[in-house]
Symmetry: none
Amino acid sequence: MTGEHRHILVVDDEPQITRVLRTSLTSQGYDIRVANDGETALEIMKDWVPDLVITDLSMPQMDGLELCRRLRVKSQVPIIVLSVRGEEQTKVRALDAGADDYVTKPFGMSELLARVRANLRRIPPQDSPAGGVIDAGDFRIDLDAHAVTVCAREIKLTPKEFELITYFARHPGKVITHRALLTAVWGGNSTEQTEYLRVFIGQLRKKIEPDPSSPRYILTDPWVGYRFEAHPTSSQD
Amino acid sequence: MTGEHRHILVVDDEPQITRVLRTSLTSQGYDIRVANDGETALEIMKDWVPDLVITDLSMPQMDGLELCRRLRVKSQVPIIVLSVRGEEQTKVRALDAGADDYVTKPFGMSELLARVRANLRRIPPQDSPAGGVIDAGDFRIDLDAHAVTVCAREIKLTPKEFELITYFARHPGKVITHRALLTAVWGGNSTEQTEYLRVFIGQLRKKIEPDPSSPRYILTDPWVGYRFEAHPTSSQD
DNA sequence: TCCATCTTTACGAAGATTTTATGAATTGCT
DNA sequence: AGCAATTCATAAAATCTTCGTAAAGATGGA
C-alpha cells in the first residue's frame, strides 16, 4: 500500500543502543538514520525528514530535552524518549517538552516496536506531502514556492498566514473548528489561544478579501470556527 | 474563562482508581465521566464524545483490549491503557489493539497527567471522531458543519440549541427526562436548572416549529420531560 | 542595529446565556 | 366548583462571551 518505507531517526550516543535499534528497526522495514547528539540530529533533518524520532535523554552537545523543544517549534513529528532515568519528574519534563512517549532503559525490544507502531499510526492524515499546487476556486497555492494568488493576483503572506490559508484551501466549504486550525498551524499546545486566530484571520482578510468587512472567502461560523469558500469562478466540485 | 474543557472518559471497575483519577483530572480542568466496564463506556460515548480515554485492561463485561478494538473501528480518540500487568507481551497486545500508551499500575499521578497532556496534544486537526450526519424524519443534522435543516430549510442555531436538538435527534420518539437533557447539554452540575430547559426549548420551538404554540416536533411530557418526534414522513418506529 | 513577524493586550459591538418576572395550565384538596 | 400549589411557556432584563480590530511589546534574523 505504501511503497515508501517510514523514516525513523535514532538519536543516541551509545553505540550499543544504536546498533541494536538499527538492526531491529531495519528488520521491521523502517528506514533508519542515526545521530549521536541533538545537533547532528537537527543537521540530518534539514534534508531527511523522519516520520518518527527516537532519542536518548542525556547526550553531548544537545540533550534530548532540548532536542524535543527545538523540534516542536517547527515540527509535529512523533518523539519517543529513551532513558535510563526512571524518576517521575524526569519523565514529566520530557513529555512536557514535547515528547510523545517515554521508555525507560533497559527496555524490551518488542514493546518499543509496538510503541513505534502506535506512534506512527496516528501521524497526520497525509497533510503534508510538502509539494505541488493546490487549486481552489479563485485561489492557487504553490506549496513549493510558498506563493499564493487570488484571481491571478499575487499575494504576499507571512509563514503563519500561508499555513493558515493552506489548511483552509485543503478543506474548502467545510466548517473548521478553532481547535482544528490551532492544532494544524500552531501545534497541539495552543488549542486555547483563539486570540491568535482572531488576529491572523483579520490580517489574512485584509490581504485577500476585496472588502474585509464583509468577507467573501473566509467566513465566520460563530462559536464554532471558520469556513473557507473558494468561490469557483465557473465550475464547482 | 477558557472555552470548552477537554472530555476524558475513565473506564475502570476499581472504585479506588476511578475516585483518585476523577479527583486529579477534575482538578486539572478536565471534564470527567466514569464507566465501570467497556459496555458502559461505549454506551456513554453515544451521547458524550471524549477527547481521550483512560481504560483498565481487565474488567467485567468488556475488557480494555476489546474496548480498544471497538473504538478503533470508528474513532481515533487517544487511548491510555492502565494495568497491573507488566509483561511485555500484554503491553504489545494492547498497543497493537489500538492503545496509544500503556501505563503500569501503580503509577505516579504526575506522570499520568503528563501522558494525558502529551496525548491530547496530538489530537488530529480533523475534529469530529464521531462526526457525520443524523437523519431523523424532517430533520437533518450535520455534526461537522454544525448545520441543521428542517424539511430542507436551513435553521440557524446557537451552540446550546444545537446540542439540544442533537440530543433529541439521537433519541427520537423517546421520553427524555429533564435531568438527562441537562446532564447532556449543561453537564453534570446543572441537573436542577429546569428553567434553562424551559427557556431553550421555547427558543428552539420558535425556530423549528411551524406553530410554536402547538408543537409538532418537541412535545412536552408533563412532570417528566420532553419527547422528540421527528415526524416520520412515511414510517414509524 | 533595523525590520518583519509573531505574541499579547485592550476595547466596543454583536450575540448568547443566565436570571428574573409574569401569566396560563394542570393537579390535588376541600 | 373554588382555591392553593406546582409546572410550563414566554418575555425581557442582566450578565457574560465571542469577534473583529488596533496597537503595543517580544522575538529573531539579516
